[in-house]
């Protein structure tokens, strides 16, 4: 409150302040040896001010009154400097006056689980992976996070939130000749992550999947390569589809990208405003939602970092593009209200528009029926590489594993699977989405955006889906 009062006394039309304490515990095991057993705790304060319609922000780890005065004054000076190269004055739209507290629902507080128990689970998973011959490197890890945050603004908002995250996974790498093959579980890059407690880690049963993950990595060394430069039907498993949604649906709907705020780094978007309500982003079976309320989602919270309440809003309805991820400022430009997508990665960063949970809504198909219904195609799962252009059109993805589908049956194992496409063509080729029985909330804890860079944790619910006439096999 001291910062807010000082800011207003010095002419700020608006100010907000966040005080954040962040705790992380991280354990990683490699080939049966503990590679890392660490814990961190950091705290700090960030003050954002709007002076004559221009922004300034300053932050510090030091929470003394003198330092808070210093950074508030610094933020005001920075805002004045911004005013030297300014244009249209910032309009934040209606006031935000949220009050309350929120805590992630947890059954088992992950910080109350002993380090010994956490480590024992990972060592057990490692031992299971090690029972399979031919694996070069085994990895298992667990990460738990607790973020405690206070937010206040000059509109009168005051919120307090405690967000818990639990993440982890296993990975087996097999090497043979010039081949290197990797399998991970439950999600790519050794980490599925959710908002929730240790019960999530237990539900994934890492030890129970250890031998399978190792066996698949070894089998991939001698599997047939993915057919090259063909066009076929593609069924994507849930984890790969979650990343597809992240890259080709979440990012292009960030309204700050559309308005050019990220042009210097992350890029812009092909979803320009005149397309809202008229553009067929996908086929009629494609429904995409942005929400910050679904259980387990990494984008689930009580209020965003502008104090806007958590909510759910459609982005694509039956294929039609209908919504963006917005902030107060960008929503006001569009004549709408913010849907609460402003998130800062820490006390030392300003909030920018980030994905919350951006999900493909479940369809009607059972997975087995989808396979049976596919005469000729490839099933791909678990991301291995991902790349997309700066407007979010041309993409290319690679997966850890694939299976040929012939005459309605999953057949031979395929390695080095890749596929490529243009975003709206791809989503308009989607003709089937699996039902809620197959829908899982996946986590992407490594989304990069902003200058200076920020890493966001985003959620993506997805069930397997089928896409027609997709170009696959682009290793060369």
């Amino acid at each position: 409150m001291r910062a807010l009062d000082l800011a207003q006394l010095h002419g700020a039309q608006y100010a907000d302040v966040r005080v954040v304490n962040n705790r992380i515990e991280s354990i990683s095991v490699k080939d049966g040896i503990v590679e890392e057993l660490s814990s961190s705790e950091t705290e700090g304060v960030g003050v954002r001010v709007l002076v004559n319609g221009a922004w300034g922000f300053a932050s510090s780890r030091n929470l003394t009154n003198a330092e808070i005065d210093h950074i508030t004054t610094q933020a005001l000076d920075i805002a004045h400097a911004s005013g030297l190269v300014s244009g249209e004055k910032v309009d934040l739209g209606p006031k935000v006056t949220s009050q309350g507290t929120y805590q992630t629902p947890v059954k088992i507080d992950p910080f109350h689980v002993s380090l010994e128990d956490k480590l024992a689970l990972l060592l057990q998973a490692d031992a299971e992976m090690g029972k399979v011959q031919g694996v070069r490197t085994r990895r298992a890890n667990a990460t738990v996070i607790k973020e405690h945050k206070h937010f206040a603004n000059t509109d009168g908002a005051f919120t307090e939130q405690t967000i818990f995250e639990t993440g982890g996974g296993i990975q087996a790498t097999a090497v043979g000749g010039s081949e290197v093959q990797v399998r991970t579980y439950p999600n790519a890059f050794v980490r599925q992550q959710v908002t929730g407690g240790w019960e999530a880690m237990l539900s994934w049963d890492l030890p129970g999947n250890g031998q399978r993950v190792s066996s698949e990595a070894v089998a991939l060394l001698t599997a047939d390569p993915c057919p090259s430069n063909i066009t076929t039907s593609l069924i994507l498993g849930g984890t790969q589809l979650a990343l597809q949604v992240h890259e080709s649906c979440g990012h292009p709907t960030e309204l700050d990208r559309v308005y050019g705020s990220e042009a210097a780094y992350a890029g812009t978007s092909f979803l320009t405003p005149e397309k809202l309500g008229t553009f067929h982003y996908g086929s009629p079976v494609v429904n995409l939602t942005a929400d910050s309320i679904r259980p387990l989602g990494l984008g689930t919270f009580g209020w965003d970092d502008e104090g806007v309440p958590a909510q759910s809003s459609p982005l694509v309805q039956e294929g039609l593009f209908v919504g963006y991820l917005m902030s107060r400022e960008t929503a006001a430009k569009l004549g709408r209200f913010s849907n609460g997508c402003m998130r800062a990665s820490g006390w030392n960063r300003i909030p920018i528009i980030r994905m919350v949970n951006v999900s493909l809504e479940p369809g009607t198909w059972k997975f087995d029926d989808l396979i049976t219904d596919t005469d000729d195609g490839i099933y791909m799962e678990s991301n291995r590489s991902w790349s997309i252009d700066d407007k979010r059109n041309n993409f290319q993805f690679g997966t850890e594993i694939g299976y040929e589908i012939k005459h309605g049956k999953m057949g031979r194992l395929l390695r080095n699977c890749t596929y490529t496409g243009i975003t709206p063509e791809f989503w308009n080729s989607c003709d089937a989405v699996c039902n809620a029985d197959h829908w899982v909330m996946w986590g992407t804890p490594n989304c990069g955006k902003g200058q200076p860079p920020q890493i966001a944790h985003t959620g993506h619910g997805a069930a397997p889906a089928r896409f027609r006439n997709v170009k696959v096999g682009v290793l060369k």
């Binding site: 221009a54 780890r61 920075i78 400097a81 050019g260 042009a263 210097a264 041309n394």
Partner: protein, 447 residues
């Protein structure tokens, strides 16, 4: 920010709390600011002050790590207690070689007071000059101008105490029209070495030349890469295989190729943390002095960089390339890369090319397969067809999938001028020239 004598007092206070157990403390204090602009106005403008304290606590070969950004007495007590508890829980690491002993290291000049004190107003005025030119040309400028300083200490109970101060400055801009764009960037540890307006004009000129781009068929082309692309080539080779751990795990492009002529003889790449023409850092995050390491010498693969852990596993000494604790899972990395410049200018490369592509930069590049460091990515911010030794017309952005090892084997010419660039997440820096490469494989194009 912390002065050397206070840093020594603080590190001593932490190590003393470890009560005879071996321990290593890293202090990283930073004071950073960034002025960001888009649509020809400053839309984000930020500053931060932070200090990270990381402690590794050893009980024999049991290792526990803890970090905090508190430096008060209670905070330090809590830090040591956590690190000790973590060490007690952790089983022994039989491969751990122990803490290094003190070694003399080269103190390098990397601090510029003017950079450390560069005000938001000065950044704003420099940005404003670039935006003004863009407005006059009917173009849209975006970018970021950052300045800052950091102080790094690594100390341990064996008597190691290393202290380094550094300033940094970076200006980058993307200038756009409705159908074209251009980009320019430069990094330095002295802000006055950044020719901000010239960089702005470079990006503007590229955008102006890029109107009405033509869609072309993918395929193999001779390419001329600006240094921005070269930075991506060697940074990718770094992340995916210049460190000894990648070699040990069998996933480096160097595996089974040490001593082999894998790349063009025109290609020499080395790492040198003491060279003031980079972004110098004279010791690593274990306090071991950095050595100059030849990674590739005239196309021959010389070997990786090591830290103490990976070196001990392979019977080699550390080359001073341990990364910060939270990145230690990646193994050692080269943080200060150089590629040897050549003897031709970009204009001469273009003039010598009958048909090819002149490319400003790559974007969103990711590993597809580690063996030859096969990378996929997009071109961005300026692609031009060369015909008969001249830039003929602009081209729509292309996707490529190409082994970077093969790309550097196909180098036909290396640029005279080299430029310093700090990577998108900071920390990794490279001083690199332009390149001419034959047979570069493009697999698609954007709309």
């Amino acid at each position: 920010m912390i002065e050397e004598k206070d840093a020594r007092k603080l590190s001593d206070a932490i190590l003393k709390r470890c009560k005879g157990n071996p321990a290593e403390v890293t202090l990283l204090f930073n004071d950073a600011a960034l002025t960001r602009f888009a649509n020809n106005i400053i839309h984000q403008n930020v500053a931060e002050r932070d200090g990270e304290v990381t402690l590794r606590f050893f009980i024999g070969k049991q290792i526990g790590t803890a970090s905090t950004n508190r430096t008060d007495e209670a905070g330090l007590d809590e830090l040591v207690n956590r690190a000790k508890a973590n060490a007690k829980t952790s089983p022994e690491d039989p491969n751990y070689p122990g803490l290094p002993e003190p070694e003399a290291y080269q103190h390098v000049a990397a601090w510029d007071q003017r950079t450390a004190e560069f005000s938001p107003e000065k950044r704003a005025r420099a940005v404003g000059a670039v935006c003004q030119i863009a407005v006059e040309k009917g173009l849209n400028a975006s970018g970021a101008f950052s300045t800052g300083s950091l102080k790094l200490v690594v100390a341990n109970t064996e008597g190691v105490f290393t202290y380094h101060t550094q300033t940094n400055a970076d200006f980058q801009t993307v200038v756009m029209s409705n159908d074209s764009s251009g980009r320019a960037q430069e990094s330095a540890w002295k802000v006055d070495e950044l020719a901000v307006e010239a960089l702005g004009r470079e990006a503007i000129e590229t955008a102006q030349r890029g109107h009405n781009p033509v869609k072309i068929d993918p395929g193999e082309y001779t390419v001329i890469f600006e240094h921005y692309v070269t930075e991506d080539l060697i940074s990718s080779l770094n992340i995916y295989g210049m460190g000894a751990q990648a070699l040990q795990e069998g996933r480096s492009w160097m595996n089974d190729r040490l001593g082999e002529q894998l790349m063009s003889p025109l290609v020499s790449i080395w790492d040198d943390g003491t060279d003031v023409h980079g972004s110098p850092l004279p010791f690593d995050f274990e306090g071991v002095p950095k050595q100059r390491v030849d990674i590739v010498k005239k196309g021959v693969v010389m070997g990786p960089v090591y830290d103490r852990y990976s070196g001990a596993k392979m019977g080699k000494l550390s080359t001073g390339h341990a990364t910060p604790i939270k990145l230690r899972g990646y193994g050692p990395l080269a943080l200060n890369l150089f590629m040897a410049p050549g003897d031709v200018t970009v204009e001469e490369m273009i003039a010598s090319t009958e048909k090819g592509l002149y490319i400003n930069r790559f974007w969103y590049t990711r590993l597809v397969h580690p063996r030859d460091c096969v990378i996929t990515g997009m071109t961005r911010d300026g692609v031009f067809m060369i015909e008969n030794g001249e830039v003929a017309y602009p081209v729509k952005n292309l996707r490529y999938t190409m082994p970077y090892v093969q790309a550097l084997a196909n180098v036909e010419a290396v640029g005279k001028a080299s430029h310093l660039l700090v990577g998108e997440y900071g920390g990794l820096c490279a001083r690199v020239p332009a390149l001419k490469i034959k047979g570069f494989n493009f697999t698609g194009s954007t709309v």
